[in-house]
Subunit: 133 residues, 2 copies
């Protein structure tokens, strides 16, 4: 997972987020609040694309009006397979990792895809170790 998660507040404008996405080469930002623990919402490139598509004034519209909420999250103790299944079931590409109301990272379909060649080696290795016993 990516541990350095970019967070914003619900007042942030769509055009500011478009610049964050373009400059940082990331696909989502998590909406948090200084007053509340936990995750309020999530905004992805698809959400910004939708605002562009409907001709919204992206320099003034704030993410509080179009963020996805509530957010599907996972705890850090879950397996990669559980995360992949959860993302498929909910048709999402970004899954915040939250432990005790604390955002600790984000897992993306790109993270999972990059892990895929390693997964094959790990499964075969753990299988070999088992059969050695």
């Amino acid at each position: 997972m990516t541990q350095d998660v970019r967070t914003i507040t619900r007042e942030t404008t769509a055009s500011t987020i478009a610049r964050v996405f373009a400059e940082d080469d990331i696909g989502s930002v998590v909406v948090t609040s200084p007053e509340m623990k936990g995750v309020l919402g999530i905004v992805t490139k698809s959400d910004i694309m939708h605002q562009v598509a409907v001709d919204a004034d992206i320099s003034s519209i704030s993410v509080g009006t179009f963020m996805s909420t509530p957010v599907v999250t996972i705890t850090g103790d879950k397996s990669i397979r559980e995360a992949a299944t959860l993302m498929r079931e909910h048709s999402i590409q970004h899954l915040p990792v939250v432990d005790d109301d604390e955002l600790v990272g984000i897992l993306t379909t790109t993270n999972l895809a990059h892990y895929l060649p390693r997964l094959r080696r790990n499964i075969l290795r753990s299988r070999d170790e088992l059969s050695d016993q």
Copy 2:
């Protein structure tokens, strides 16, 4: 992979593509030409995001000016692992599948992530079959 790939020409405007992305819930379109075989370029949500971020006039700018070209592609006979490795090496999330200059599909990091739980089962199954022999 996704077989129904959305293609556009290089004259298509950025705002038209933003609408296609929003309406069809896809993350990339492949640029082709009626006059030429093969794939001319690819445009992703990140590319549109970049145009929005630099305040381009997205209702008039055509994709020929900002599409990614040449395009990294793969042939249909390659393994999922090879595709995942290629995508990681090139930092891309969309990989057109091209056989004999013919676009036959597109593979995304989301496709790979969705395949991940199945991969684990398949590897273990093929391993079990081998050990049965």
